[in-house]
Every structure is written in structure tokens, then in C-alpha cells.
Point group: C2
Chain length 341, copies 2
């Protein structure tokens, strides 16, 4: 059974492409508040659960020991652009644990933005591991390993004590079994586990309510979520959905992208978590449908200061290289039932 | 009715993403040789019909007047990487018509490859119109306009005499109505028309058989197709599907990519044309399914010298940034009925 079309891509008056997928909005008790498509089909959350993967950084005491504030914690849950501010912060986190970027197991890639690549090219510098969008998360892993008193080498491997803690944290938050049968390797060379998006959504409801969590874990979740919402630039960067949405919403929502068309969010004011998976893996569609869903879930009226930003993110334009408007994305699924009564 | 899944994207043992779409393989008489999904749903061919759009360059006499050989004609039907060889050839074509890159209406973007961007950044040079992947096609348009004796200004507009010839050529080759109701603006600011992929496929069967075409048009098609197959680097560039496939197949197939998940090909030895449209617009899926289809349509056995290249293109690997194998693409549709008896 095919999932429904969530997003149409138009050019002129024609629908040029279509994105199918599923949406789950859950509360912490596991009640379905809104759902579209197959929310039980296993999907890899990829980077969308970085906030859960950062729990050992908090619970080991590493974040306190190294004096990490909102900016460090936001970078620890980020998929960043590799801009100067991100790179400097990742280096600083590693230095506080007596480590450097040579310890990172995430592999190297160029920064996201042309301006940041240009700066490296003008210096004749190569793409570095520190520019990897996951370098903040990996810096957090390394800091936690140091605090745990274990050898950081191989920290990204499934059998390393640090990674066992990381996987256990995601498994506990989502309540979905993380078995070898659903294990894959993420782009940054750590394990990722395919789980239902309903479980991801429930995990994010727990993340913002603390329901069913130990007091220590609930405090760690609150610190991570507040850090990300307070420092949205650190979570992604210039021109990025996560940064723009959290900056506009000012503490009302935590949002996080994951590769291959995954998006997650958490709404403290409603005690809800949401997860989206686009079947074909397209980020453009996961972003549009997440923005449209947040407009409904938050009941954003036309005069809400965040509304213009969310409207833009929900219906991005497609322009020619010369700047002409050619078409755009439009959400095709009816999301109105997600609006609070 | 949803089109079937053509390509699975795997990670570990799990299918992470799925690409649906349609395939049409036609002969010049309009007989369906092989089809999957809805081959009558209108789709924008985008750059996949550049060979048809280049017919006025040939038929106006411009290509002969300016002494264009295989390399120029291959660039005129290309979506190139903006490598040095492409840029120099586009400049040379414009100079022969007394024009320069300031006449191009395609807009500017950075070259595709990091190495070519790095060279520009080190010089402090901006992205230019000449680097636009369509600059060869636009250079061909401008040369044809000069030869036609019309003012080249506005050559990209639907009502310009040159563009009317271009649209008429695509309409005649495909036999599909190019009305205002299916007209959109392409990324390089020329009109593009949504037509059935069955019509695209039939057009490419005509392209390699000449059936139903005037002798002059049939000769123009033969020259364009032979030029592209003889100079595959000019059609795309380093590491690109069109270049690698045509280089491996050595004159057995013409292939051409189009944006938003379109691929077309033409097989002179079987008198067939094919067109693929991935519903969600993903190039990775259109490439994999086209390669798998060519293996079948050409009956490429294990000992064929092109088989290893086509196998690689049909099942690309997905690796982590550190180089570990994480998963890959695999064609999910049964294409065996496309193999010759």
C-alpha cells in the first residue's frame, strides 16, 4: 500500500513531481494525535535523533565538567553547515577534553555553503572532519567517553561502551527495539536503527514532557531542548530550515532534520512529538510538510510573528538561475485535523 | 493510482527509501515495446530533449556556417559540468557567431565539481553564465538565431522566432501537443512543455531511425546523435552518468539526463527510444533504472566490455564520509521483458 502524496512540486500549472510519505504526531503516553500513512514502517531516523544521542554527554557529567553552555549543547545536537562559528565551537569542545579533530571518526566533507568552501579554497585547505555536519555530535561523544574513563578510540563502533550508552538512550526514549536486524551505518560511521516514525514521535513527546523518564534524564532533555531553541544557529546555520524555524518560533518548538527525508519536532506547549518520513528521501518535501504541520499544531494565525517564516518554509519557490519564478512546493495532504480545538 | 516502485535505496538490510516512476520503450511507429507505470501522465522532459532543441542549429545551416564538429554539437546537446573544456568550447562557439557570454540568458551557477569551483575561488572569480550546465545549448540557440538573421535578444522567450523553431522541433519529434496549458519555464529560462514519456520515447526512436522525418531532419538527427556518442565528455563531464555510459557503450546508445528524474535514451541498433520519469524527481533513481534497462535492451552479457560500467551505474553504492559501505541503490522493477528475444 503506497503512502499518500504529501507534497506536490509544481512548474507552471503542472505538477512536475510528487513526494509520498507518512506523518506521526504522538503524545508521551503513546496516543496518536494525528497520523497520515504507514507510521509503523521502519525508517532510519539518521540525524533526527541527535538530541537523544547527546543524553550520555549530559548524564555522564561531561557537559558540566567541561562547562558546556547552550552553544556547545546546541552544537552537540546539530547537523551544522560547517561555518566558521560551528567549526570554532567544535574545536573548542574537543580541546576542553584534551582532544583534537584527529580523534573524530565522522569522515571529512566540504562545508555546506559556497562562501565557506571558497574561504578554504583560497587558503588551499582541504575539507576536514571538523567541517563534517556531525562534528559537534562527535565532539560530544568524545567528551562523554573521556568523562566515562574509557579509551575514546573506536567510540563510533556499536560495541564501544560510549556507543552502547548512546544506542540505549535512543532505544529508551523511543521505546522501539534497536536490534541488529534493523541496524545500519550512518553517513558519519555510527550505528543507526530503523524504527517506526510513531516511536520517534513518541520519543520527542517524552523529550519535552519528561513523562516516563527519570528526573535526571528529564532534566537532561530539558537542557538540550532549551539550548537548541536558544541557539538555533548552532543547530544548523545560515539559510537552514532548523535554524530559521526555531529562530522564528522563539522557544515554542524544537525541530531537527535527518537525512533521507526525515524530520522530527517537539512542542512543549502541547506535549507533543512529531516525525515525518518522505518515502523517497527528499529533504525538500520533509521540510515543507513539517512547516505546514507546525502551523497547524501551533495554531499559528495570520498575525503570529512566526507565521511569515513558516509560510515561506511550507511553500518554497522554485526559480530559474536567472531568478524567474518557475514553480514551487505545495503541501497536498490535509493537515487541518492537527490544529488544536 | 500510484506508479510502481522502480528503485529501492538500502542501508544495512533495510530499505531506507523508495522511488516510484514510469518507463516507456517505444519504436518509431509508436508501438510500445516495454512499459511500466503511467506512460501517458505529462512530465516535463527538461534537458532530456536538448538533442531535439538543437535541430534549428543544424537545419538553419548555422552548424555548417560556423564549422561546428562533433565536439561543438555534443556541447550543444549537453548538460555539462562547467569544466574547463566545456567552458572553453562554449566561449569558442559564441565567438564564432560574433557573440560572447554576456548574450546568454541561462543565468549563472557554479560548476558542478569541487575542483572547478576551487579554481574559480582561488582566482576570486564569480560563478558565470558560461558555467551554467546549459551554456552549450544556449550558445547553439544564439548561433542559430544569428544564422536566421533575427535579433538574438530575447532568444529564450516563447515568442522569439528562434524559440518558436525550437519548440516546433520538439513538438514534431515527439508528436505531443506543446500548448500553453502544459508550458513551464525551465531552470535556464526557456519554455519546457509537459508531455507523456511515451511521446518522448517515440521521439527518440525517430531520432535514431529517421522514420517519419524529412531527409534533412533525419540527417541532422544522425549528426547530433553521432556527435554526442563520439564526444561523451562534452555531453556531461567527469564522473557523470551520460558520459560514462556513452563512453562504455561506444556508439551503441545515446543517453541524456533531464532534471527532476527524467532520463531518455535511443538505441540505433534496435530502432528504439526510451524515457524514464521518477515521480519524486530523483536523479539517482532515474540513472539506476536507465542503466538496468540498457543492460536488458542491449542484451549485455557478462563478458560485454560495457557490462561492468553499466552494472556500476545500475547499482551505485552508498558510502559513509569515511568510506565505509553503508548500502546502495537496487532496481526493484522486473525489466527482463525488455531483453531482445
Amino acid at each position: 500500500m503506497a503512502n499518500p502524496v504529501l507534497v506536490d512540486v509544481t512548474r507552471g500549472d503542472v505538477v512536475e513531481s510528487r513526494h509520498r510519505g507518512a506523518i506521526a504526531v504522538m503524545d508521551a503516553a503513546g496516543r496518536t494525535v494525528f497520523a497520515v500513512g504507514d507510521v509503523e514502517r521502519p525508517a532510519f531516523p539518521r540525524s533526527a535523533v541527535k538530541a537523544f544521542q547527546a543524553l550520555p554527554l549530559m548524564e555522564s557529567g561531561a557537559a558540566d565538567r567541561f562547562g558546556f553552555g547552550d552553544r556547545e549543547l546546541a552544537l552537540a545536537v546539530s547537523s551544522h553547515n560547517g561555518e566558521e562559528g560551528h567549526v570554532a565551537m567544535a574545536r573548542s569542545m574537543l580541546a576542553k577534553a584534551g582532544l583534537d579533530e584527529g580523534c573524530l571518526a565522522c569522515g571529512a566533507h566540504w562545508p555546506q555553503r559556497e562562501a565557506d568552501k571558497a574561504r578554504l579554497h583560497r587558503m588551499g585547505a582541504p575539507a576536514g572532519r571538523i567541517h563534517n555536519n556531525c562534528s559537534g555530535k562527535h565532539a560530544g561523544f568524545l567528551c562523554a567517553a573521556v568523562q566515562m574513563g574509557v579509551d575514546p578510540a573506536g567510540y563510533n563502533r556499536p560495541d564501544h561502551p560510549l556507543m552502547r550508552e548512546v544506542v540505549a538512550a535512543v532505544e529508551a526514549m523511543t521505546g522501539a527495539a534497536h536490534g541488529a536486524d534493523v541496524c545500519g551505518t550512518d553517513g558519519c560511521s555510527i550505528p543507526t536503527f530503523a524504527i517506526p516514525i510513531a516511536a520517534m514521535a513518541r520519543g520527542f513527546a517524552r523529550f519535552v514532557t519528561g513523562e516516563g523518564l527519570s528526573p535526571e534524564r528529564a532534566r537532561a532533555c530539558t537542557r538540550l531542548r532549551d539550548a537548541a531553541m536558544a541557539e538555533p544557529f548552532m543547530v544548523a546555520g545560515t539559510g537552514r530550515f532548523c535554524t530559521d524555524a526555531m529562530a522564528a518560533l522563539g522557544g515554542r518548538t524544537f525541530v531537527k532534520t535527518g537525512a533521507e527525508g526525515v524530520f522530527t519536532a517537539a512542542i512543549p506547549g502541547r506535549g507533543l512529538g512529531l516525525a515525518v518520513k518522505i518515502d523517497d528521501g527528499a529533504a525538500r518535501a520533509s521540510e515543507a510538510v513539517t512547516a505546514a504541520l507546525l502551523i497547524e499544531l501551533l495554531g499559528l494565525d495570520a498575525d503570529d510573528p512566526a507565521r511569515a517564516t513558516l509560510d515561506r518554509l511550507a511553500a518554497p519557490e522554485i526559480r530559474s538561475w536567472a531568478g524567474e519564478l518557475c514553480g514551487g512546493l505545495r503541501v497536498a495532504a490535509d493537515l487541518s485535523a492537527a490544529r488544536p480545538d
